[in-house]
């Protein structure tokens, strides 16, 4: 009897201590859920479910859904297909400008859409470089244009995500491959592919969601309303019709479709088991061959052709006299300041949330009864990407209004929504290494009783490159944000992208292009600083 009683106390005590230890993480995730639920509830309060059936029967809606699915599948598929050989090449070859290329790859996704579109037009358009130099005219408006733009935005992102997979490869495996005289193909087949498989599903889902909800690109380069996405309808319902009911229906539809897609991908994909590996990867030479060389050249050429020319077009304005005039305006530097005031806190909050998610997920991973949870937790964080930022922001706005908080809190809303929107990227960067640490050292930590701060101190050198990358992405995304801040705009809250849109909204396209250069440069600098000062020297592979 007594023994049994003791063990119950033990269990209780254990439970209590665990929960206490997890409390900050639980609080973080709970807060995230609460805010998400609140904004969803606010929107749903205005919805009339019986009218949803009517929306479902609109043929145009399903045409849009079909097209969205199709173009998102194509875009993400092509991006990944190109990214795989490019990532492999970047790992094995050292060449001049490699790290600059990687830096550039990190910022492609935050290029404001209008700037990217105009950049693509300068390259592929009617009077574009392609036509002037080679006399080639591609049918830019239509599926081709949409794919070109999406590959420009997402292929570099895919490369960076895949490179994270390479970080998981133990150096012992490379050493063996080198000793056994593996060719590049054999190494890819027997080592790299094994690790790539772990990051591919996540990257695929992430890029798919980005493309599925793409808006301005699809409209501008689609060549007409034949090509459209659900996001367009959501924008229309929220802004032009102020039809909260329809907007929440469409948002839920989008979430359902993306969730379904993610579930299918994860079902097909192999279960994500992280291996024990050493992080400090030493590169070993593999047998080189003509075929390996040509494959690498081809992959690099592909990446260069698709990514570099639009970037050159975007950076073109620095040679114009307008550029220096733009640099001298006070408004520009005010906008830079506002952007930093939003981006830095938002990135920190996002990182904090990401760590909360990571801690919770890896706690569950090792415990029998919760072992099914980590993927779910991760997916919870990703879900935010499926909901348009405009919808989250609107929902939050309504919630806050009901609490009696008005405009005064707009700064905080902007920071919060930006932080939440960046979470999927933070999780992509953070989760693999956090899982890996758990697998590798859990027993050591448990048996030695190393906990909390001491554990973080031990782990820090190993996870800091990933933390840096997570922070970098969160910074970039918040810097590039346009939708959220536009909804909550107020005097004095003019961020860099908003300033850019003000300029091009009143004919000043040239100055707008210059501001875009400033924005991208700022992104590059921040990303560099993040990986240099937080990532430390171990970030070698990534940068």
């Amino acid at each position: 009897m007594v023994k049994c009683h003791d063990s119950i106390i033990d269990v209780k005590l254990f439970f209590f201590r665990t929960v206490k230890g997890l409390l900050p993480a639980l609080l973080g995730v709970g807060f995230f859920l609460l805010m998400g639920a609140a904004s969803l509830a606010a929107l749903l309060r205005y919805s009339e479910l019986h009218s949803w059936l009517g929306y479902m029967q609109q043929p145009y809606l399903w045409r849009v859904v079909r097209f969205s699915l199709w173009q998102a599948l194509l875009s993400s598929g092509i991006s990944l297909l190109i990214a795989i050989p490019v990532a492999s090449c970047l790992i094995h070859r050292q060449f001049y400008g490699r790290s600059a290329l990687l830096q550039l790859f990190s910022v492609s996704m935050v290029v404001p859409t209008i700037v990217a579109i105009l950049g693509l037009v300068v390259v592929y358009g009617r009077t574009g470089w392609l036509n002037q130099l080679f006399g080639v005219q591609i049918p830019l408006y239509g599926l081709v244009g949409i794919l070109l733009a999406h590959v420009f935005f997402n292929m570099p992102l895919a490369v960076r995500l895949l490179l994270q997979g390479y970080d998981l490869i133990p150096s012992g495996q490379w050493r063996q491959a080198s000793q056994l005289g593996f060719s590049r193909w054999a190494a890819f087949r027997w080592i790299e592919w094994h690790y790539m498989k772990k990051v591919l599903p996540g990257a695929f889902v992430l890029i798919f969601m980005l493309c599925f909800s793409s808006f301005a690109v699809v409209l501008s380069l689609g060549g007409g309303p034949k090509y459209s996405t659900l996001e367009v309808a959501i924008y229309q319902a929220l802004r032009f019709d102020f039809d909260l009911n329809k907007a929440s229906f469409l948002a839920l539809l989008q979430v359902s479709i993306c969730t379904l897609f993610a579930v299918i991908v994860y079902r097909i994909a192999p279960i994500n088991r992280q291996d024990v590996s050493l992080l400090a990867v030493k590169s070993y030479l593999l047998k080189d061959s003509f075929w390996a060389k040509s494959a690498d050249y081809l992959a690099l050429l592909c990446a260069f052709v698709l990514v570099i020319p639009p970037f050159l077009a975007i950076f073109d304005p620095i040679f114009s006299p307008v550029f220096f005039k733009t640099l001298q305006s006070v408004a520009l530097w005010n906008a830079v300041l506002v952007s930093l005031q939003i981006a830095i806190p938002a990135a920190l909050v996002s990182l904090l949330l990401g760590v909360c998610f990571g801690v919770l997920a890896r706690f569950c991973m090792a415990r029998q009864y919760f072992a099914f949870l980590p993927n779910k937790i991760e997916h919870l964080g990703n879900m935010i990407l499926m909901v348009p930022g405009l919808v989250i922001a609107t929902g939050l706005f309504l919630t806050l209004r009901d609490f009696g908080w008005g405009l005064q809190s707009s700064y905080w809303i902007v920071v919060w929504v930006n932080a939440v929107m960046a979470l999927p990227f933070v999780l992509r960067a953070l989760m693999p290494v956090m899982y890996q640490q758990e697998r590798r050292f859990r027993n050591v930590y448990l048996s030695l009783g190393i906990q909390s701060w001491s554990r973080w101190c031990l782990e820090w050198p190993l996870i800091r490159p990933s933390v840096a990358q997570a922070l970098g992405y969160a910074l970039l995304l918040s810097l590039g944000d346009m939708g959220v801040i536009a909804l909550f705009g107020s005097q004095g809250l003019v961020s860099l992208p908003l300033y850019l849109f003000q300029l091009i909204g009143s004919y000043r396209l040239e100055e707008g292009a210059c501001v875009a250069v400033v924005l991208i440069s700022l992104c590059l600098i921040l990303f560099y600083c993040s990986s240099r000062f937080i990532g430390g020297v171990t970030a070698r592979v990534k940068n």
């Binding site: 230890g21 300068v122 367009v232 830095i344 905080w412």
Partner: protein, 337 residues
């Protein structure tokens, strides 16, 4: 498990938030005006209007800049009765009915008899503050024989056209109504014919105009006053507005005061101010639109040469509000066939 790191991170975040955010303290007699971004920008008419009005009212003008004219309305709707807005500045003709139906707007007591808009102005809720017409803009150096009518724009299969989406932008909606008022029940056929030589339909005015300036199209939907910008600000005479023998569709921007305005007296004073020279003299070179009253000082010559419509086509606001959805569906079906 790791409360320490989390709390450290958290406090770091909180501190940086605190440092980054210094609350804007509002003085008591501040007039809050919701407007769109370009209007309130440094180069827009906003700063001059602020200075001119502050001389008269002994108050402070605070512009809240939103992303578009639709954004102004949806922001006011989102905030509802608890809105801090006194005046909404920058809605347009086609948003008026929807804005009235929100029940958030008060009537004005401004005498609008001096307004020079064709057909006069009699609306009790809105005061117009600038005007113009939608028109297709072309580059006279590259397009030798510009269209002279809307029918030509629709039918000329060699003309590459860019316009904006009526679901997401006000000029797009303007074209929708323009086509409707010219073609009536045959609008669907017209859209079908236009679709075959449309380069693309963009989300917003700036996307479309940007693509046009890069040489992607022969004509783009914009305003009759657009060439004036290129003449005055860039000294460039090559961009011109194409004439339309059927008449042009007007774009009139309006303002209204809120029923629940925190500073009703100031709001009323501002509504009166809108038709005064202190406001009207700023719209031409600030917002690149025409003033709505006759001014003593002459506008820059570029505005004199601006295209004048042979006729101003305008559909009744009630019809627009009632049929807008059906007309957009008609456009959608005709262009996606």
């Amino acid at each position: 498990m790791k409360p320490f790191l989390l709390s450290t991170l958290f406090s770091a975040a909180v501190i940086s938030l605190g440092v980054a955010f210094s609350p804007v303290t509002l003085a008591k007699d501040t007039l809050n005006i919701y407007t769109y971004d370009a209007f309130a920008s440094d180069w827009g008419p906003g700063p001059k209007i602020k200075a001119n009005f502050e001389k008269e009212c002994a108050c402070e003008v605070n512009f809240v800049a939103l992303d578009s004219s639709v954004g102004i309305l949806s922001r006011a709707q989102l905030e509802g009765k608890s809105s801090q807005a006194d005046v909404l500045l920058g809605l347009d003709l086609n948003l008026m009915e929807a804005a009235k139906q929100t029940g958030l707007l008060a009537n004005h007591a401004v005498d609008t008899s001096a307004v020079t808009i064709a057909g006069g102005w009699s609306d009790k809720t809105f005061v117009p503050f600038d005007q113009g017409h939608f028109a297709f803009i072309y580059n006279s150096e590259t397009l030798q024989s510009p269209p002279t009518s809307l029918k030509e724009v629709v039918d000329n299969q060699n003309l590459r056209v860019i316009y904006q989406d009526p679901r997401t932008s006000t000029p797009g909606l303007g074209l929708l109504l323009w086509v409707k008022s010219v073609y009536g029940d045959n609008a669907a056929d017209a859209w079908g014919r236009l679709a075959s030589h449309t380069v693309t339909v963009t989300k917003s005015w700036s996307d479309g105009y940007g693509l046009f300036l890069k040489g992607e199209a022969d004509v783009v939907l914009s305003y009759t006053t657009s060439p004036a910008y290129h003449i005055v600000a860039e000294g460039d005479n090559k961009y011109k507005a194409a004439a339309a023998s059927e008449g042009l569709y007007p774009q009139i921007e309006v303002a209204a005061m809120m029923k629940g305005a925190p500073h009703p007296a100031l709001a009323k004073q501002f509504m009166q101010f809108i038709l005064q020279p202190g406001f009207q003299s700023t719209v031409a070179t600030g917002n690149w639109m025409l003033p709505v009253v006759k001014l003593d000082e002459k506008l820059p010559a570029a505005f004199d040469s601006a295209l004048k419509p042979v006729k101003s086509l305008v559909l009744p606001a009630k019809d627009v509000a009632q049929h807008r959805k059906a007309w957009i569906d008609e456009w959608l079906n005709a262009t996606t066939r």
